[in-house]
Amino acid sequence: MKILVCITNVPDTTAKITFTDNDTKLNKAGIPYIIGPYDDYALARGVELKEQTGGSLTVLHVGEADADPQIRKALAIGADDAIRINADPLDSYFTAFQIAQVAKPGTYDLILMGRESIDYNSGVVHGLVGEMLGIASYSPVMKLEITGSTATLSREIDGGKEVLQAPLPLVLGCQEPIAEWKIPNMRGIMTARTKPLQVLEPVALEELTTPQKYTLPTPKGACKMIPASEAGTLIRLLQTEAKVL
């Protein structure tokens, strides 16, 4: 089985977000970057399935060279090789389009990624890639087993979950508890250095959306403290002052 795992390169979850260049660019200075937490789940399950089925796993990233440490980490966790499409992934359509070029029909049996990136939170790349390749996509997938050419998966639906069987190939957006995050071991880190990382230029595409500017939310006012002994009065304040009850 041939598996493709798509990863994002995103600011660490604790990063303070600020902008530069007149609020048109993210200020990357001093921000540690990580593999998107959801992509990390996808990668972990991908590695397990690769080991179970004796298949191969390619990791794919659409982005610039500053992502290479995260790509090497994915190789250290267990991917066999990597592809980076050398472009700033400014919108979901563009990113999905580049992924679809690499994952042309017949190339991979299973395409895994996170349910959403934690920078843009759109959660639409798996659906876009699925449609571009003419195959089914599901998200968020919380359990995944492969038997022959059929996937059995459990995914979250509104207010519950469902279990379904679907034929491969598939595109899946993953989330916990599909697998536990994997930490690379020493041997993995050593072998990752020599695993192939292929850098490809993007395929041209007309621009459908253009980012204009970024803004930060207006800061909250002070928190009104209520003494524990008068906790009950909070309910009245919520009704009469905050008007949320």
Partner: protein, 324 residues
């Protein structure tokens, strides 16, 4: 030409977030001088679908083929695109949810449309079409110009205020929509569906009472559930709580869980780590109960009580019960 709004049905009723999408789409239609058309897929009574008129839609297309009863993003996207083509829709609006995003994505790929998900306010339409959306899980906003001929917007909860019982301004005409369906969209077989039917869904809830590790163990949840019941609220939790299996996974709120935007969020024994805050910063009003005055959550709160949750929760429940 038109603005097309997809409404999500839950047991035959239009979801609240989808009614917001109808109101949102109708406003966009007004701005560009077009009519607002609604598409509903699945089973629903006409009386329910007429509600869309109260929020500004002039027409409702209802695709009720039995094959479409079960949620299926592939088939639904195909229906959506056929509706958009019939109605010459230039803007397509959906409410943000797993299904909404999947449908929007597949439709965007079919139509080569620019797609923006997580929209928080009505678009600015002039020489260009600009939308603002939430990014970095609520830590910032981005304004984006959509340049494509057809534009797809996936709208966050509370992007527009709606009236619970609006006066009907438009009489929506309801028409059966029966486009051809493609076999290849029905290859999956669903073997099990588990719905926590008695529980309120977190993404739709107006009030959420949420517990963290400060609740000390699953056996201590009753006082929190009692308050939730008294307020008609849904229950949520922090990541460690669901990791420890104290509460089910679908209650996990935060950057790596569900993002919520209720009117009122009550956090009980949650420290307020940045990853948790990221999932709740769309809330209108935040109440924090924590015994540690230094808990970071107080900085993000509107109201705070410093004290032991187990002493405070029953007092709140009592006060909430005497409200009515």
């Amino acid at each position: 030409m038109s603005v097309l709004i997809y409404v999500e049905l839950d047991n035959g009723s239009i979801k609240k977030t989808s009614l917001e999408a109808v109101a949102f789409g109708s406003k966009v239609a007004e701005k560009i001088g077009e009519k607002a058309v609604v598409l509903a897929i699945g089973h629903a009574a006409s009386a329910e679908l007429e509600k869309a008129g109260n929020y500004g839609a002039s027409k409702v297309l209802h695709a009720a083929d039995a094959k479409l009863t079960h949620e299926n993003a592939m088939a639904y996207a195909d229906v959506l695109v056929q509706a958009a083509s019939q109605e010459s829709s230039k803007v397509i609006i959906l409410a943000k949810s797993g299904l909404g995003d999947a449908l929007a994505a597949r439709a965007a790929a079919k139509l080569k449309a620019g797609i923006v998900s997580g929209v928080t306010a009505l678009p600015e339409i002039g020489d260009s079409f600009q939308v603002t959306r939430s990014i970095f899980t609520g830590k910032a906003f981005a304004t984006t110009e959509i340049k494509s001929d057809i534009k797809i917007l996936v709208v966050r909860k509370n992007a527009i205020e709606i009236d619970d019982s609006p006066v009907s301004t438009v009489q929506a005409e309801i028409t059966a929509f029966t486009p051809p369906l493609r076999d290849e969209d029905f290859q999956a077989s669903v073997s099990k569906v588990e719905k926590a039917s008695s529980e309120l869904s977190l993404t739709e809830a107006e009030i959420i009472v949420s517990g963290g590790r400060g609740m000390k163990g699953p056996e201590n949840w009753q006082p929190l559930i009692d308050l939730a019941k008294a307020l008609g609220a849904a229950t949520g939790c922090s990541k460690p709580v669901s990791d420890l299996d104290w509460r089910p996974h679908h209650e996990h709120i935060g950057q790596t869980g569900i993002k919520v935007a209720p009117n009122l969020y009550i956090a009980c024994g949650i420290s307020g780590a940045i990853q948790h805050l990221a999932g709740v910063n769309g809330s209108k009003c935040i109440v924090v109960i924590n015994k540690d005055p230094e808990a970071p959550f107080f900085k993000a709160a509107d109201y705070g009580i410093i004290g032991d949750v187990f002493e405070i929760l029953p007092k709140l429940t009592e006060a909430a019960k005497s409200l009515k």
